[in-house]
């Protein structure tokens, strides 16, 4: 076994930590951070397991996919932050309206 699996487990851990924070925190900014951490976790699993071919080369396709993913993530984060600001501007606080049970 290589360090590939070690980082892949860390990635799973990040995914779950992010999921936990997404569920328990009410503040939207924390939820946005949580989604970003979850994303990093997924990317880490994707790239880490590409190392299973050994030391010299690793599979470039996951690398390209993660670069795609990072760009998608920053786009989504920007939209989420803009929405959060607009919502806070109207309601006075950055929490989701109504009952909170997601």
């Amino acid at each position: 076994m290589t360090n590939a699996f070690l980082y892949a487990f860390a990635g799973i851990g990040l995914f779950v930590l992010g999921l936990h924070a997404l569920v328990v925190h009410a503040h939207v900014l924390r939820k946005i951070l949580a989604v970003n951490v979850m994303g990093s976790g997924v990317f880490l699993v994707l790239v880490a397991l590409a190392r299973r071919s050994g030391e010299a080369t690793s599979d470039p396709v996951p690398h390209a996919m993660v670069i795609t993913g990072i760009v998608v993530a920053v786009s989504a984060t920007a939209l989420a932050l803009a929405l959060m600001l607009k919502l806070a501007g109207k309601s006075g606080e950055a929490v989701l309206p109504g009952k909170h049970n997601d």
Binding site: G18, I67, V72, A88, G92
Partner: protein
């Protein structure tokens, strides 16, 4: 030799645990500003992890976009949130209304259930990863076999701009959608008055040409070595953010169609080239082998412009309307 292997193992283990620890702290810190700073530190540590995993291209993208620009966006949003909520509900964001506090007795059951569910799914996903074969080459053989006809020698660039260029086209559209979404919320960002000159202004005057050079280098070198449109675009975008932070504002005339052109030129180039190749080669985005290198460089250059403009304009939109609080420490 064993010693070195052990050291590497130890380093990787510490790095992995450090990532988890920073993520936990960032997500559960009682102060939002601290949470964001910890998140940025987390992003930088992620970049280090990418280096350890031989993914230098990803490391560059992560450092510039994941940690740098996302961090700038988060800080700008927090600053604006505080100016907003200070007026209405004092201290909502500085001292969040819902800190990770002990749960009331009623929801203790659901909290326990959540922990149980998450533990079970962690175990399941961990086992799934564990059960994967310990040796696999994925698609690296296919990439290596066709790298010569891709027009570039950096395999990651070959995947992004040639083998899976269609993903990249759609991704340029995702970036455009983010801008359109933010605009549809706010309209075009208003032009805030120019804040007084700061140390940052002097700094950015000095750094701007350096960053532009770095971006150009990254773009050029991306064909053969780590780098490429996304890295160059994000460095260029970061330059824009730095200029915006120091009070520079594009002239109103620039914010009209020159900006719109810059935002769409990457996606537009992909579409035009795609239709051209469809006409000539009968396949979408199939470059003739002899021209592939040049076409990729052209696409990457235009994509760099779009990515940089998108990232800078997203930052301007999220941070606009209020003076940036750069000296956050005084609040602490």
């Amino acid at each position: 030799m064993d010693g070195i292997i052990f050291l590497q193992w130890a380093f990787d283990a510490v790095l992995g645990l450090g990532l988890l620890w920073l993520a936990w702290r960032a997500l559960n810190s009682s102060d939002l500003f601290k949470a964001i700073v910890l998140f940025i530190a987390f992003g930088l540590l992620m970049a280090l992890a990418w280096v350890r995993l031989n993914a230098s291209d990803v490391a560059l993208a992560e450092a510039a976009i994941g940690a740098g620009l996302t961090g700038a966006l988060l800080l700008a949003a927090l600053a604006r949130l505080e100016t907003m909520t200070d007026q209405n509900v004092s201290g909502v964001s500085a001292h969040p209304a819902h800190p990770p506090s002990p749960t009331p007795a009623g929801s203790r059951f659901s909290r326990g259930l959540l922990i149980l569910l998450l533990s079970a799914s962690t175990a399941g996903m961990g086992y799934a990863v564990w059960s994967l074969p310990s040796y696999s080459t994925g698609l690296s053989m296919d990439v290596a076999a066709h790298l010569d006809s891709s027009g570039v020698s950096n395999p990651v660039t070959a995947v992004l701009l040639n083998f899976r260029s269609y993903d990249t086209l759609l991704e340029m559209i995702v970036l455009l959608l983010a801008v359109l979404g933010v605009w549809s919320l706010d309209g075009l960002p208003p032009q805030p008055e120019k804040p007084p000159a700061t140390v940052l202004e002097t700094l950015s005057r000095f750094l701007t040409p350096v960053f532009i050079l770095v971006a150009a280098y990254l773009l050029w070198v991306g064909a053969d070595a780590p780098g490429g449109a996304f890295q160059a675009g994000s460095v260029l975008g970061a330059t824009g953010v730095l200029l915006l932070l120091s009070g520079w504002r594009p002239r109103a005339r620039l914010m009209q169609w020159p900006l719109r052109l810059a935002l769409t030129t990457g996606a537009g180039a992909f579409i035009l080239l795609g239709l051209l190749t469809l006409l000539l080669e009968k396949q979408l985005l199939a470059y003739p082998v002899a021209q592939a290198g040049r076409m990729i460089l052209l696409l990457e250059s235009l994509a760099t412009v779009s990515i940089a403009a998108t990232l800078a304009i997203l930052f301007l939109s999220v941070s606009s309307g209020h003076k940036m609080k750069t000296g956050k420490e005084e609040k602490e």
